[in-house]
Amino acid sequence: MTENILEINNLSVEVSGKIVLEDVNLKIAKGEVHVLFGPNGSGKSTLLMTIMGFPAYKVLSGEIIFKGRDITNLPINERVRLGISVAFQNPPAIRGVKLREIIGYWTSSIKEIENLLKKVNFSPDLLDRDINLGFSGGEIKKSEILQIMAQKGDFFMIDEPDSGVDVENLKIIGRAINDMLQDKSGLIITHQGYILRFINAHIAHVILQGTIVCSGSPTKILTQILTEGYGWCYKCPMRRKIEKRETKTNS
């Protein structure tokens, strides 16, 4: 039997008094890379933030099991210590805090840092700049990937690594992510799926209105979304479940 690194069971989540995820179930086996598709506001980033343990994302019911351990109520940094890493889509800029200090938390080896920089073609000068302050879109993505590479986790969550990145940098980022994911597990959010040209993803999921409505081959699902949009998803058997939810909400 394949061992799951992450198991989410019947997870419902509230953010600022609004239910954003409802009854989400997801299993990611060790060594598998999953992709999460969904329109804006469907709950993709919420799922990542909840797995990471951000306090604003309040778990109403369900559980998150990581490496066989219930982490639903663990603080963020303890989840990191267990091997979960996240690359954010829009990380905050923090004045005076240097990227070097964050990388330095995980490794003091100059050689290792140089190696990491090379992998994402990242200028060493940026290590001593205030993190994310005045970084370009590409630099932010690279900085995020650099940080999670340094963390050497077992499960990587990456939120839209291909948004706002030019073709050249996308290639660099895509290859670095693929390299990082060798023998590891991951969950990647993407809108256009450009990053999938460089990453061997195993399973894709579509999330609509806070519920995972279908799962399957990443290539097949992406092709359908790109040709028919998310309207296609409403044709699948899960449609009834969504409609039922909508009716319940409206009433």
Partner: protein
């Protein structure tokens, strides 16, 4: 609080302090001149906290304890490039010295300038000679050792045309002092094409009052960089140094990092007066208030020439609900075309930043400490490596203590 009420309160407080000052000692013991290494350990240790290191690591050293001048040494390599002595000595030595005396700061400015005028206890005179680029920083230390002492120093710094230098000044008191008042008058003359970087670090204590009064005159193509750092508590500190950008293309930068703790009452600001074309000014202030500290962070940009430009940035971080930060940025344009701008923000540590760092593995406390440390980032000051490392250690300890 209305401005009128606040001004009334300030006047009352200053009156109380003036009365207090009249009861302070004016007759401390006399200290003999000696090498810094011969000073008691507690003084050396405290002086180190404000950036003072052994004489051989600096181009020149001026050290004053209470009313006594301990050291005014210039390293042999820098002889002929700089002059360092007490202002009393300079007054005796040079007739022209009077031209620089009470010229930028008025002796009638307030009761503290009057006090320093009537009861003057040395202070340093530093002169960088024409076209001399002094490669090592100079240092000075004004130390208060005696309990309930009134120390009034008057400093004059002249950067002659084309010269460049960096001065580190530490003002400190013995940690066990129960009360006292330091008044420091400083007049800076940065002549054409000169560049002076002046870094002042204060280490007072919770029973001590301080009233520095400073002004700088900046000539054509000259630059004055003034860095100010305060990490220790103080009973009260009030200063509002002013820089007159009088020359064409004259520049001034004020960088202030103020950490208010305990019951400190800190009223600190910087003024930039732009008086000629291409004059540029910048004020950057970072204020952190914790415990019951009250910080007033002021700033005034005054544009008197149409081709002048200045910016003021003030950020405050509040670490306690009992503390207070009041930022008062002011822009005064007196000429069309003067470009003056400011931005000010005061708040607590952003949760978003904490969680971001926690997602990088830091504990909540470590994350907060890193953010506070980052807030007091001194890497832009361009300090000598040894001083920067020393201050980083102080900042790290301060940030950890703050949380």
């Amino acid at each position: 609080m209305s401005n009128e009420k606040k001004n009334r309160e300030e006047r009352n407080e200053d009156k109380l302090l003036e009365n207090f000052a009249s009861r302070l000692s004016r007759k401390p013991r006399k200290w003999q001149a000696c090498a810094l290494s011969n000073l008691p350990d507690e003084i050396i240790k405290r002086a180190y906290e404000v950036g003072v290191v052994p004489e051989n690591s600096r181009a020149a050293t001026y050290f004053q304890i209470d009313h006594s001048v301990i050291s005014k040494a210039i390293q042999r390599t820098f002889q002929g490039q700089i002059e360092v002595m007490s202002t009393k000595e300079a007054m005796k030595k040079y007739d022209w010295f009077k031209k620089y005396w009470w010229r930028l700061v008025s002796k009638d400015m307030d009761q503290f300038t009057r006090l320093a005028y009537l009861k003057w206890d040395h202070g340093y005179f530093i002169r960088i000679l024409e076209d001399q680029k002094v490669t090592l920083p100079l240092q000075s230390c004004l130390f208060v050792f005696t309990d309930y002492l009134n120390q009034n120093v008057h400093n004059v710094v002249i950067a002659e045309p084309g010269s460049e230098a960096q001065i580190i000044t530490g003002c400190a008191v013995h940690p066990n002092i129960h009360g006292g008042l330091h008044v420091g008058i400083s007049e800076f003359y940065i002549k054409e094409d000169a560049k002076l970087t002046f870094t002042m670090i204060h280490a007072w204590n919770r029973n001590f009052d301080s009233r520095p009064r400073s002004a700088a005159l900046i000539g054509d193509n000259a630059t004055f960089v003034s860095n100010y750092l305060l990490f220790q508590p103080v009973k009260s500190l009030q200063m509002y140094p002013v820089a007159y950008c009088k020359g064409v293309n004259s520049r001034v930068e004020f960088n202030n990092i103020i950490y208010g703790s305990g019951d400190s009452r800190i009223d600190v600001g910087s003024k930039v007066i732009l008086q000629n074309s291409e004059a540029r000014g910048e004020i950057i202030t970072r204020a952190i208030a914790t415990d019951n500290a009250k910080i007033y962070a002021r700033g005034l940009l005054q544009g008197e020439h149409e081709e002048s430009r200045a910016h003021l940035e003030c950020r405050g971080l509040l670490l306690s609900d009992r503390a207070m930060i009041y930022t008062i940025p002011e822009l005064l344009a007196k000429a069309q075309g003067a470009e003056l701008s400011h931005e000010a923000a005061v708040g607590k540590i952003a949760e978003e930043e904490i969680y971001y760092l926690m997602a990088r593995g830091f504990s909540e406390k470590e994350a907060a400490s890193l953010i506070v440390r980052g807030f007091m980032d001194i890497s832009i000051f361009g300090l000598p490596k040894d001083l920067e490392e020393n201050i980083k250690r102080i900042v790290k300890a301060t940030a950890e203590r703050a949380l």
